[in-house]
Amino acid sequence: MGRLARWRGAALTFSAALIAALTLIAVIMLSLDKAPLAAAQRFIEGAIGTPSARADVVMAALPMLLCAAGLLLTFTAGLWNIGVEGQVTMGAIFATIIARTIPRDVSDWGIFAALIVPAELLLAMLGGALWAGVAALLKIRGGINEIFGGVALNFISVNILLSLVNGPWRVGTFPQTAPFAPAALLPRQPELRLSPLGIGIALAAFGAVFMALRSTRFGLQLRAIGRNARSAGILGVRVERNIFWAMVICGALAGLAGAFQALFTRGRLLPNISGGVGFMGVLIVLLTGVRAAWVLPVTLFFAVVPIGSLKLATSLDSAVQIDATLGNVFQGALVLAVLIGSGVRAGLAARRERRSEHG
């Protein structure tokens, strides 16, 4: 099959899946006496109608992009790094170690003031990498499947987070830290909620992963392991070492995503700090079928959903007011429909091939 035909097939699958998912949402809305078309209009206006909304979409996309970039590495090697959520959480916690100690006034810090954010980001990467490293070691040394280890580490990271915000780091009546000082936050433009530094870091990370997968020995080895780990090992690929580094790099990027959530999105540490961006990254990579080139547009599309859903949730018009969870339902339904669609397409192609073989 030619490149164009493949591309057209994928686009067709995606469109069909999109229609299926939208139909599901419309049916749910109609059954609740809401107006789907009015809601759709309000949703699109709310998500991309104004510069500030578009800025929100871009910023919401960054943590997802970081997670998706890391997961591209692990999925390429055939690893299900479900533990990405915990790695995001640990990143946020590690960034907070520095962020919560920064005073409001750092005017006499001189050159050190410029080092606060880089130090936070590095520590966050260390936290995420550490957590991923544990999952990798459990897999390599303990023979524990990375899905199970990841799930366990996700829950443990949440327990650590809750312990901190309920205990030593708690400020005030709610289980959360105090808002971080401006110097501790990711620098942002005053008029729009936009952080050029954040955008730069996320794009650079994604670009590095893209290039690593495309044209380095590391990427080639990960692909070989993903195809068949045993054959790769026999042919001299150091499977365990590559798996370890794929996991650790993914963890570092997830940790960075956690830092974005704490130092930009929320501006403090609180329960559910990850906001599900790790699992969102898994959905994105699954939707693209682990194809790096598609990750960027799909991530932007996925970031539109929570922003638009939030506008609907806070709308005063009861005909379109609807809980933001429906946005998550839409994303899940879309990915499921794409998976099913690609399965159907592959099945049809196989049948066509068989038929042409037999006569």
Partner: protein, 326 residues
């Protein structure tokens, strides 16, 4: 025996019931070679379905039926995607678990802590008067008995019947089973559906028995626990049930000391079940069990191996290309 202790044990068996049902369902499914990773979302969505159906008809039976059908339907999606469409079971299951959970969170908003389902408490006459055991096992609600039945029935079916042997063969050596005339994929459909139905029953056990109200936070997460316990229990129903009670016991201990220790410690203690499972699996599945055995007296070796052995069904998660008839 101390009365408080008896009551604690009775409580552990009761709150463990939904997880037992879900984990036994998953054990049966995985024994046939299919991973139903949608467990957590399945549990939450079927819990909601059971609650809504139960509360609007005032009938436990209809509530249970609703829960079971939802669990069964989700499991069938996994089976169809795997068997007909040759998709990764893990991918489909993972997406389904997120989708079903979010769907339940959304659809459950109007029912959040709205009502309490009337009790399904059902003490069994005569048996409940047996000292100690009666109070723990026969003075319970309906779902607790169902969880006992599920464990014993699953064990009996898997290890004491011919169809059970076939079921294990399908999960271990599908090619061999097929060569002996077994319709591998049909059996996988069957046992995935049965397993999903049990997960749905587990969901119903939450909202109609244990809680008994609709609360997403009371259910979510327990499906992941159940999935982990299936591995922890080495795909043996009795060990799986023991694993559930161990986890429920740890939780009971944490609850009982909650008032005495600061909240940050309580939160850390909540991580204990997961730490325990990670540690056990680390020892059991790695090379460390042999090292451990070396320092223990040889007489204990067979016993320890029987208790700790854990090996997944060989064909778990794989797709079987069945030729000819379906």
């Amino acid at each position: 025996m101390d009365e408080v202790l008896v009551r604690t044990f009775a409580d552990i068996v009761k709150v463990g019931a939904p997880i037992v049902l879900a984990a036994i369902g998953e054990t049966i499914t995985e024994r046939s070679g299919v991973v139903n990773l949608s467990l957590d979302g399945s549990l939450v969505l079927s819990a909601l379905a059971a609650f809504v159906a139960g509360i609007s008809t005032d009938s436990v039976i209809i509530g249970i039926l609703a829960g079971v059908s939802v669990g069964l339907a989700i499991a069938l999606v996994v089976a169809v995607c795997s068997i007909e469409l040759k998709l990764s079971q893990v991918a489909v299951g993972f997406v389904l678990t997120l989708l079903c959970r979010d769907l339940a969170l959304f659809l459950g908003i109007p029912y959040r802590n709205a009502q309490v389902f009337p009790t399904t408490f059902l003490p069994i006459p005569v048996l409940k008067d047996i000292p100690v055991l009666g109070a723990i096992f026969f003075n319970q609600d309906l779902f607790t008995y169902l969880s006992f039945i599920a464990v014993i029935a699953a064990w009996w079916w898997l290890f004491r019947t011919k169809p059970g042997l076939t079921l294990r063969a399908v999960g271990e050596r599908p090619q061999t089973a097929f060569a002996r005339g077994v319709n591998v994929n049909a059996l996988r459909y069957l046992y995935t559906a049965i397993g999903g139905g049990l997960v749905g029953l587990g969901g119903a056990a939450y909202t109609l028995g244990v809680l008994p109200t609709w609360s997403d936070t009371g259910v979510a997460g327990n499906g992941w626990i159940a999935l982990a316990i299936v591995i922890f229990g080495g795909w043996y129903p009795l060990r799986v049930a023991l694993g559930v009670y161990l986890v429920a016991g740890l939780r009971a201990i944490v609850t009982s000391v909650q008032a005495q220790v600061p909240p940050q410690v309580v939160e850390l203690l909540n991580a204990l079940p997961w730490l325990l499972m990670l540690l056990t699996l680390f020892i059991v599945s790695g090379p460390y069990l042999d090292r451990l055995l070396r320092v223990l007296p040889p007489r204990l070796h067979p016993l320890i191996r029987t208790v700790l052995r854990a090996r997944p069904p060989s064909a778990l998660g794989t797709i079987f290309e069945q030729e000819g008839r379906r």
